[in-house]
Symmetry: C2
Subunit: 418 residues, 2 copies
């Protein structure tokens, strides 16, 4: 029941790891599909209370900071900034059991293995469960890791769902809203950060690889476009006299696809669209849609974005439709320093010669932690690339190999920075 | 206060016509914008009761048939099938004051003018208010004219809204549901049918014309398409591995536009569209949309439709998206015989040398009446092409010219068929 590390390293206890993952999955909001532990639900709180007990039972000292982040400390040999390994235990509505949970329970398993072995790290090791990573109705994802790196804007804390503000929800999870309006930590407070996570995409599986070293977390530019034409009778308005907002939108949608395909490493998506009046016999008068472009390089994002804007403007001008960019947000890409990526890839390659270096198209806590310390991620395959759904699955041996890689990376980083 | 006809014909009483139109517009469902007289609302019933009084006050004998159609008879000199002139007095939610109403009150004005003049028609003249022309929640438009020409399917009569069946609604409007399961009339029962209507489109206004002779009512092919791809994470799914239902749908939307533009006389519209899951960070997994093509010639409709199908199938195949045509309905086009179109155009041209011959892209009662008798329509301009909205407007002088043309056409048809 152990994955042998093949050298003097302690062995990951696969049965213990799997049992922890199964148990955490039992904490789920009643009446929802798959695994649902949304911030700030009772299921999420109960799961964390169980996790904290598991941490204490492993002999680790636990704490919750003002940002609601739950930490468990394995002391190191020296007075050094800690290494951090963790992820999150909240989930989307109807999600799977490994997204986030693997990174937290895998880090706990590493700490248990190290504690029970003869190996002593130079740095303290903090096992971390960062608060509320997933998108929520407050409109603030990565609540805990943002608090650490940047603090939270006071107006965010005042946003409310069903009468409860984000600040109140943070307090209910053990945080302190008054303490997070400024960054909780300064760069250098952590020695390095490592996050093990499921890929949530199809790349590793397609390549037959069990491990991936993440070259970076993509930046995202996302905008809401409003295309305003004129609603006309679908029978009486001749083609030449129409101002059809939907045909103009179709050109925008295809421009996003065409240019994202043409730019290596880019993805582009129109995922959300609504039209008015949305009647089969009326020419669409207005379309609202959200388009996003992701890439590791901000310059590549700008290139694709400008191409899409140009194509959309031309399509609208041809049809007498006005184009308005209503909102427009940028998330900066984040990448590990070269030495850390090389170290992580070397560890992965040592366990699986088919290991890949690949970008993360999804956002993660590590994207924020990268402002505090060298930060890297390890991916394990997601079956069929599925994620954020009950069908999300990673084979137990891949989960275990991922935890093995995390342990080796922690030890290697500890030695490198000592 | 009269529009002179410039010869021995009686003069249309513009003040009386406008007063009738204004009064009918006061019958509207409380709390709705513009004019709202939906079948079978109290406002629609009250408006019809007022109309029947106006008909009786003009010395016309009134009746309601099993299809709920309200008729007023001006006797002719001979025992001949009647000429019919009319339209409808129901409206859409938030419609204008002239759609339908002009054709009914205009025909009443013609009957009043003829009754008060020395002119006696060979044929009886039936002023008609056909029941429930507009689309309604029962899913059966043109209830009255369909009853006359085809009868109503028993399953339609059983459809219900808020506990009331279509049959019950028909009975409440003075009809007899048991009597309409077979056609009320056989071809030849009417000598001819004429309908004056607002254009509901921009063509006459754009040409500076005050009258149009309608070359035919277009046929419509309408289908609901379901495009099924796969919902994937918008960040983690590489472009090459996606099955994006919305980009495939965008190609279908543009194919409809492109081919309808290329085929003279065609219009094509995607007016209704929904996508799932409709989240900005998820590749669209499913799109449902309704596409329709209209043209006077069934062969042209089939040509455009098949082109769109081919383009959509190619777009879906390229993306691994499946295309399903869920529902598919055809409305046959209807056109007046050549002699009648020539007659109507000649009348229009006599009143306005800029008069046009143009198709009707919208459906009308005349489309069904054409199965019973030679049937034609006269259009007057709609400002800005607007219709089915409170802003619908036609200038009083254009309304009056339209009624003048209707009178002349009735007299000319009466002489021609005597």
């Amino acid at each position: 029941m152990t994955c042998s590390s093949g050298n003097e390293l302690p062995a990951i206890n696969r049965a213990r790891l799997m049992a922890d993952l199964e148990t955490l999955a039992t904490f789920t909001e009643p009446g929802t599909p798959g695994t649902t532990r949304r911030f700030p639900s009772a299921a999420y709180m109960s799961g964390r209370a169980w996790l904290r007990e598991r941490m204490e039972a492993a002999g680790l000292r636990t704490s919750i900071d003002a940002g609601g982040n739950l930490f468990a400390m394995l002391p190191g040999e020296h007075e050094l900034p800690p290494l951090v390994a963790g992820s999150h235990t909240d989930s989307v509505m109807g999600g799977g059991r490994y997204d986030g949970a693997l990174g937290v329970l895998g880090a706990l398993e590493v700490a248990r293995c190290l504690a029970g072995s003869g190996i002593r790290l130079h740095h303290p090791l903090l096992v971390a469960d960062f608060l509320a990573e997933e998108a929520n109705d407050f409109g603030v994802s990565c609540v805990g890791s943002r608090s650490l790196a940047y603090g939270l804007a006071p107006e965010w804390l005042d946003r409310s769902i069903a009468g409860q503000t984000l600040g109140q929800a943070l307090a209910a999870m053990g945080g302190n809203p008054a303490g997070v309006t400024a960054p909780l930590l300064a760069p250098g407070a952590f020695a390095a950060c490592l996050e093990l996570h499921i890929e949530q995409g199809p790349v590793l599986e397609a390549a037959g690889a069990t491990l991936g070293a993440v070259s970076g977390i993509v930046g995202i530019r996302r905008g809401t476009f409003i295309l305003s034409g004129r609603p006309d009778h679908a029978g009486t308005a001749p083609m030449a006299l129409r101002h059809d907002a939907l045909t103009a939108a179709a050109e925008l949608i295809l421009a996003v696809e065409r240019c994202a395909r043409a730019e290596p490493g880019a993805v582009g998506t129109v995922g959300r669209l609504a039209l008015r009046p949305n009647q089969s016999n009326v020419v669409p008068g207005e379309v609202t849609l959200t388009a996003e472009i992701r890439h590791l390089e901000p310059a590549a994002i700008a290139l694709v974005w400008n191409y899409v804007l140009e194509a959309a403007e031309a399509a609208c001008a041809e049809r007498g439709v006005t184009l308005q960019l209503d909102a427009h947000t940028d998330a900066e890409p984040a990448a590990p320093p070269a030495w850390l990526l090389e170290l992580v890839y070397s560890v992965c390659h040592g366990l699986d010669p088919r290991a890949l270096v690949l970008p993360s198209g999804a956002g993660h806590d590590t994207g924020h932690l990268a402002h505090l310390a060298p930060a890297a991620m390890i991916f394990v395959p997601s079956m069929g690339g599925r994620s954020h759904c009950p069908e999300e699955y990673t084979a137990p041996e891949h989960l275990c190999t991922g935890v093995e890689a995390l342990m080796r990376a922690i030890i290697a980083v500890d030695r490198r920075l000592a």
